[in-house]
Amino acid sequence: MLAFTLRRAVQAIGVMFAVGIIAFSMFRFAGDPVNQIVSIDTSAAEREAVRKSLGLDDPVPVQFVRYFADAAQFKFGVSYQFRQPVSTLLMERMPATLELAICATVFAMVFGILMGVYSALRRDTVLAKLFQAVSLIGISLPTFLIGILLIYLFAVTLGWLPSFGRGEVVKLGWWSTGLLTLSGLKALIMPSITLGLFQMTLIMRLVRAEMLEVLRTDYIRFARARGLTTRAIHFGHALKNTLIPVITVAGLQFGSVIAFSIITETVFQWPGMGLLFVQAVQNVDIPIMAAYLLMVSLIFVTINLVVDILYTVVDPRLRATVGRAT
C-alpha cells in the first residue's frame, strides 16, 4: 500500500516536471519579457540592466533550473501588470476559486446522486423522465449561457441574488471566506449552480446507468432472494457498488471544475484565479499564466493521486491486488 502510494507520487512528480517545461517555454515563445516590463522610451542600457536583474541573460538551462526550483517553492516571479509577486496574487485569489469549486462539486454530487438514484429506481415515473430531459439541457447548454440566464432571472428580474462578486468576505488568517456571511452565501449560489450543472448532469447520468447495471447483477438478485429489505438492497448493496466509478469521475471532474471556473468567474466577475488568468491573458502577463498552468496541473495530479488511493479504500478487491503487486 505504501509502495503503491510512493510509486504514484513519483509518477505525479514526473508529470509536474513535464508541465514545468511547458510553463517555462511559454516565457521563451511569447516574445521578449523585458519588452513587456519596460516602457517604450527605456534606453538599451536600462533594458540590459533589467534583463540582468531578472537573470534573463543566463543560459536557458540555468534559467529553467532556477525557474523550476523557484516554482517548487511556490515562487513564480513578479506579475508584469500588477508588479506584485505572482504567488501573492494567486494566494489572494485561491480561496475564492476553491470555495466556488467545492460548492459546485458538492452541489453536483448531492443532486447528481439523488437524481440518478431516483431515476434508476423509478425509471418510468414522470419525474424521472423530467430529470433525463433536464440533464440533456445541462449537458448541452454552454456554461456562460446558463450563467447569463440565471443572472437575468434571479438578479435582474427577481432581484433575489447578486449578479456579481463574492459579497462580504471574512478573513481567517490568509484565507478569505464568503461562507460566513449571508451576502457571501447568496453570492455563492448562482456561480456554484452554473459551474456545477454540467457535472451534476454527468454524475446523474452515470449514477443512473451504473445503478441499472448493478441492479441486474447476480448479487442483487441473491440479496433479494435472501429477503433483505428493498432499502437495504438499493442503498446498502447497489449504491455502494455504483459509487466506485462515480468517485473517479467526480474526482477527475473536480480538476476540470477548477479549470473551467475561468468562464463562470468571468460571467459573475468572481474574484478568483480564473478571472486573474483571463486578465493575464488579455495583458500577456506570462508569469501569471505560467503559474496558473502549474497550479491547475498540480491540482489535477493531486486529485488523481487521491482518487487512486480512495479506490483502494472503497474496493477491497483492489486492496488485495495492490498489496500483491507491490
Binding site: 438478485r221 441473491f222 433479494r224 429477503g227 433483505l228 437495504a232 448493496h237 474496493d315 477491497p316 478487491r317
Partner: protein, 328 residues
Amino acid sequence: MTEPILSVRNLQVEFASRRGTLRAIDGVSFDIAKGEVLGVVGESGAGKSVTGLAVIGLIDPPGRIAGGEVRLAGLRIDNLPPEEMRRIRGKRIGMIFQDPLTSLNPLYRVGDQIIETIRTHLNLSETAARRRAIDLLAEVGIPAPEKRIDGYPHEFSGGMRQRVVIALAICAEPELIIADEPTTALDVSVQAQIISLIKRLGRDHGTAVMLVTHDMGVIAETSDRVAVMYAGRVAEIGPVQDVVRNPLHPYAKGLMGAIPTLAGDDKRLMQIPGSMPRLSAIPRGCSFNPRCAFAFDRCRVDRPEPLPRGAQSVACHLYDSVPAESAA
C-alpha cells in the same frame, strides 16, 4: 399423508414480449414433502429456473405468474403482497444460485452479509448474529470460520464461496431450499462436496430441497424424487429410482439413454433428434411430438395431461388407458 412443504398447482408463468405473450411455464404441478429432495431436470430453457424463481416470488416484469397457485405449508404465497413475500424469502425459503462467484456482494465482508441476513429475519443482537454466522460457516464446512468471517468474497475459492452462499440460504432455518444449478459452475471434485453438503443439511434440518439442474448424475445421487421438465411442462415425475431405471415418457427415456455408463458396454449413446422448441413456436398438442419416435395423430392435436402410473406420473398419450381412435 402430511401436508407437503411446497405444493405447486397448475403454475403458469408468462413473459410479455414485443411479439406477444410467451408462456414459459404452462401448467406445472408438483409437491415436495418435509425433508424431501426433488430434482428438477431438463434442457436449458425447459423452465426449471423460472419455476424456482416463481416459487420464491422473484419473477420480474415483463414476466408474471399468470395462473395456478403456490402453497408453502398450506399458505398460499403466489399472490402475497411484496412486503410479506419478502419476509418469507430468506426466512422460510432459501435460495442458492448457480454462480457463487457473482452471488456475493464484492464490497462487503462475508460475515457482514450473513449477519445482515440473519438480523433481517431473526431478532438477534449484533453479537448473537455474529456467533450464529460463525456457527453457520462451520456447519457448511468452512475451516477457521472465526477468522474467515471477516474475509471478503474475493478471498474465497469458488467452492468456498458456494458454501458461504449456502450458509446465507440456510441462516434463518428455512423450510425449503431452492438450489438453482448449485454445482454447474464448480469443479467436479467440489461438486460432490457441495452436493453432499446440501443433502446433509436437508437431512439434519428436515428441510425440503428443490434441486434444479441439468445433471442427471447429481439428481440420481441426491434426490428422492425427480421431475423431468420439457418446454415449460412436467413430462414425468416420480421416485428417482423408477424414473432413472424405468423412464416412461419418451423424452425421459431419451434423457436417460443419453447418460454414459461406466459398465463398459460400447453401445453408442442415444440422442434425441432436434432441439427444444422456442417459446414462441411451441407445437400444438404434445410439445414433444416433433421429436418423438412414438408420436401418433393424437399427439399433434391433444395436449397430454399427467397420468398416474404406479408411483410415477407421466404426461404422454401412450399411457392413456382410453385407446385413441386413430391409434387403434
